[in-house]
């Protein structure tokens, strides 16, 4: 079981708890390979997926995870524009709290929104991505995938490439890598870097080509045009030339090195189609791990019984 009531920030978990989530996810991954992919573990518990920002893969992943644990899952979607019109997030939280749910998974456009929910309700909260802040279950599934690929996490060097400053994935993954003894290195033009990458625990590499030979993983981030204020680089073509993963760059990496991406991929921008489709890319392993890791997170937060 976990000490924390919520998983909002990856650092709500201790290093031991991160290992526990990954180990638990191993068991669930095995369940996901059975013909009958369902456990009675969370029968009678209610999980609300509150997705106030468009999301297909994360929401689906949480939804499948809840169903496989026999929880009653409800999806609530909408827009997070808590402006003059419409209900505030605090009121939405109180409303859901009044319906006595056990766990809320929240995806929201603004950083800190899961804390507002956690304060307003007794339920457990899992952050499914808040603004440019964190996305802890993505970091957990990434760690799971790396551990599966390399047999260990300690000592790995992981290059995170691209739109770091708008990325909640990087916000969780960088500290998560530090927690397990791996080294995160960020590579991006300064227009896409946060003010202080060192605060998150990242080293900064000056160019992608210099960084690649040292990396065990090149983790390519999607360029989030929708969050940028003004175009952060002159053209997609120039971005791809200096910061995109392609076959020639892949060939400069260690033979065992892997390519990861949180999806959805912009083929031809941060990753070329041939690399995306190559056996060096383990993007679908990440998606597969997502369900097992989210089952583990839900199970451990709700304090379920031993796994059948």
């Amino acid at each position: 079981m976990l000490q924390t009531r919520h998983i909002i920030d990856i650092q709500d978990l201790t290093a031991d708890e991160v290992a526990l989530v990954l180990d638990t996810a191993e068991s669930f991954k095995e369940v996901n390979e059975r013909r009958i992919k369902k456990l009675p573990t969370l029968r009678g518990r209610t999980v609300v997926n509150l997705f106030l920002e468009p999301s297909t893969r994360t929401r689906t992943s949480f939804e499948i995870a809840a169903k496989r644990l026999s929880a009653d899952g409800i999806n609530m979607t909408g827009s997070a524009s808590a402006t003059v019109k419409g209900e505030s997030l605090a009121d939405t939280a109180s409303t859901i709290a009044a319906m006595a749910c056990d766990l809320i998974v929240v995806r929201h456009k603004y950083a800190g929104a899961p804390r507002i929910l956690a304060e307003k309700m007794d339920s457990h909260v899992i952050n499914g991505g808040d603004g440019m802040h964190q996305h802890p279950t993505q970091a957990l599934l990434d760690l799971f995938t790396m551990r599966e690929a390399f047999g260990k996490l300690e000592g790995l060097t992981v290059g995170i490439v691209g739109d770091i400053c708008h990325s909640r994935v990087a916000g969780s993954l960088i500290p998560a890598l530090r927690m397990v003894g791996a080294t995160p290195v960020v590579v991006a033009p300064p227009t896409l870097l946060p003010a202080r990458p060192d605060v998150l625990g990242a080293e900064v590499a000056s160019t992608l080509d210099e960084a690649l030979p040292d990396l065990d993983v090149a983790y390519m981030l999607r360029v989030q045009m929708e969050r940028a204020e003004g175009m952060p680089f002159p053209s997609v073509r120039e971005y791809a030339r200096f910061f995109g993963m392609n076959r020639a760059r892949l060939d400069t990496m260690k033979p065992h090195a892997k390519i990861m991406h949180p999806g959805p991929m912009n083929r031809g921008v941060e990753i070329s189609a041939d690399v995306a489709d190559s056996d060096r890319a383990i993007v679908l392993d990440q998606v597969n791990a997502g369900v097992a890791v989210r089952m583990a997170a839900m199970y451990l937060l709700l304090g379920g019984e031993a796994i059948a």
């Binding site: 507002i116 440019m132 204020e229």
Partner: protein, 439 residues
Amino acid sequence: MPRPVPTDHILLRGGRLIDPQIDLDTVADVLVSHGEIAAIGEDLEAPKGAVVIECAEKLVTPGLVDVHTHLRQPGREDEETIASGTRAAVHGGFTAVCAMPNTDPIADEGAAIRFIVETAEQEAYCRVHPIGAITAAQKGEALAEIGDMCAAGAVAFSDDGRGVQRAGMMRLAMDYARTFDATIVAHCEDESLVGRGVVNEGVVSTRLGLPGWPKAGEETQVARDLRIAELTRCRLHLAHLSTAGSIALVREAKAAGLGVTCEVTPHHLFLHEDAIEADYDTNLKMNPPLRTADDCAALRQGLLDGTVDCIATDHAPHARHEKALEFELAPFGTTGLETALPLVATHMVATGEATWAQVVEWMAAGPRRSLSLPKVTLEPGGMADITVIDPEAQVVVSEDWFESRSANSAFLGDKLLGKASEVLVGGRLVLRNGKVVDQ
């Protein structure tokens, strides 16, 4: 302006009189008669019917002035009114406040200024000096009717809440303001650098995933406006400076002989960005944002060496339900009228960093000088705007303690030492024993 004086005579007995403007620091009595200081001396006799206030162990100072207050009326009377805001002001020890024009509608014409003056005459607990907008609707596109507003009683002009984006517009405003010898109060914020920024760009913006508001967003406009003031010879007052770089620019300009003044706020003096933690407390969301510990130190040094002329509150009341929004959506600002003096007393006087004479300079003399308000001194014949401070009075900052209609204070829960016990505005007793006297 307060209504007629209900009491003819008030005797402040045995307080320590502090007024650095006339090198005064002595224990004496002050007799106030018919709105003026009638006499200062030892063992003054109380006239028949006089209200006698024992001031032993207390400080008697010229009335404090806040040059940067948001009273929210007209438009957001749910957050504050001229009546409630001035109640808060006298509770905090102020005898006058300068009301910023970003109300709804914006105070950008004579009629809007007259509304504030006339409402204050009827309802205010202290003096209210309106500040008019520099540009029509604070859009930064065309001059507001600065002359008409001067005639109606505006004491200065500001687009506070926003920076004037175009340098040419600021130049036009400063040139035109000279016609009326008016002061321009600059809110320095280059929107092309600040963007959607809500916290200082740096450690906290990175850790919390919030858009950063870089120091350069302020400093570039500070540098620009100092140059334009030099060009136009217009009086310039820089509002709520928050960075070490801004203070350095003002220090350099003053050394070169430019007649510029500036203010800092208690929240930028005594809080820095590390206060903003994973709970995303929106009461700590300010514009400009809380900076770093080094910036706090530079602001304090600026006060101590005279670079900074005054402390101003930027009192910004907000509705509870709006501050309860997501950090990026919640409005900027903290209330400040009631906590300013206790904070300065606690963090600068009690620690020995500053003297009470310096506090009087920063909160009474400096503010009046900055906006060319009538001078108030502790001398016979002087206007009886007086603050009596109990330096040993304890304050626990809580929502119940506020007179303001809003409670969005960055300092809730603080235990502070020193506050106003009596306030006289034009000889009228509006605060007594720390309680607002209903009018």
